[in-house]
């Protein structure tokens, strides 16, 4: 059952934190949905992913990136996953790509630093 959008704060916030890599630089991208329509579109895609059923570590590689993805709906965590770069395929890659595209769009943000 959808609830009316609150006037303050996003309906959905999606955060991607990339850590690791040879340089060990942490980088964060974030996108938000401010209205019910885009929130529904976003969650329809995100809910289809196999949260909780992906390996969190890459047993053979070193110096690859690690991705932490957090989806918050109305200030409550709906999904959270940590994936090694080697697992970022299919829908996961599409999810991250979508967040990064939003963050990189005109008017978006380009954070490139450590937390």
């Amino acid at each position: 059952m959808e609830q009316p959008a609150e006037r303050s704060g996003p309906v959905v916030a999606v955060t991607v934190v990339r850590s690791g890599g040879f340089a060990g630089l942490k980088r964060t991208w974030e996108a938000t949905a401010e209205d019910q329509s885009s929130a529904k579109d976003w969650l329809g895609f995100a809910d289809s992913l196999p949260w909780g059923r992906v390996p969190s570590q890459d047993a053979t590689s070193a110096d690859r990136f690690v991705y932490r993805i957090v989806i918050v709906v109305r200030s409550e965590v709906r999904h959270e996953a940590t994936l090694p770069e080697s697992e970022l395929t299919g829908g996961w890659r599409e999810l991250v790509d979508r967040v990064q595209q939003q963050a990189d769009a005109p008017g978006g943000s380009e954070p490139h630093c450590q937390a």
Binding site: S19, T60, A62, D63, H112, Q114
Partner: protein, 378 residues
Amino acid sequence: MMHSIVPPYLLQKIADADDTRMARASASARRALLARDSIQDARLLSTEKPPASRRESDSGEPGARQSAVGTSPGGGSRHSSEAAPAPTLDRTVYTARNTEQLPGSKVRSEGEAPSSDVTVDEAYDGLGATYRLYDEAFGRNSIDGRGLPLLATVHYGQDYDNAYWDGERMVFGDGDGEVFGRFTASVSVIGHELSHGVTQFTAALDYQGQSGALNESYSDVMGALVEQYQRQQTAGEASWLIGEGLFTPAVQGTALRSMIAPGTAYDDDVLGRDPQPADMANYVETTDDNGGVHLNSGIPNRAFALAAIEIGGFAWESAGQVWYDTITGTLAPDADFVAFADATIAAATARFGADSAKTKAVRAGWVKVGVLEDGAAS
């Protein structure tokens, strides 16, 4: 409608920097995500390589575990394996042609003349420099101790801001040109990546938490020693920098890491300050980066550099030998900093004697960074 936001502290930092350097960097980061399936496919297609993860002690094959402990204290730096085949250097460099398909196209094999591509030749030369350190300083025949061919792929992806070890080969991106240049530019990076292979075939340190930080640190140690050996630098002359020259001139920093002064390699308006801790008092607890393996590696890195400088001379003949003896010894895969420190003191004792200046310097290094308490080491 979706739109992007940035945490306030980042907005402020970027606003203060008034910097537009990151446009290409962001696009390259997206492309960095497209690598996975091709690697898995390449592994399945490879039928002539050994299993990706194997300790020498598990295989029973000749390697380096016999190498150090128990040999003559203060002896020479070379100690070859009796049963191992004659050392053979066999390098092959491929180019991914800015795709994410591995291994890519073969562009230079062992003995062939230099190419017209500086990246290819840097990778080829770096493989050779790393091989020579392990062979000439430690008597090790390639990363597995059995002459395993050394493989590298360059020009991986588009503007890919990374270099990594995939269990069989080194992979190098060209960088985005704004923050990073090509990752073959520093031989310390090549030595670092190949040394992940050595660890894979020896101690097999878990890539998580403190054991992961030790895995990273050992690669930094050997990456630095490859550079020092190539330049014939003493510990006092060395820069102790990892990845010097990888940043573009636009970045305020000299390297990715400093082993002697962790936390000082860069301090940039956009990238922020080098976050590596220099001692246990500043140990970073985090779930990112496999538990901060690239952060807390600064602590054992500094312990090594302090010991090497205190001992003096060529680091590969003293502290480097001890670290090599340790990684090829009986270290547990989940070893923490204290276990590793104790193992280095045991290795130094076996090789140089308990009361030797070298063993004392190794112990002092670990005390200085807070891993061991003064007088508490074994």
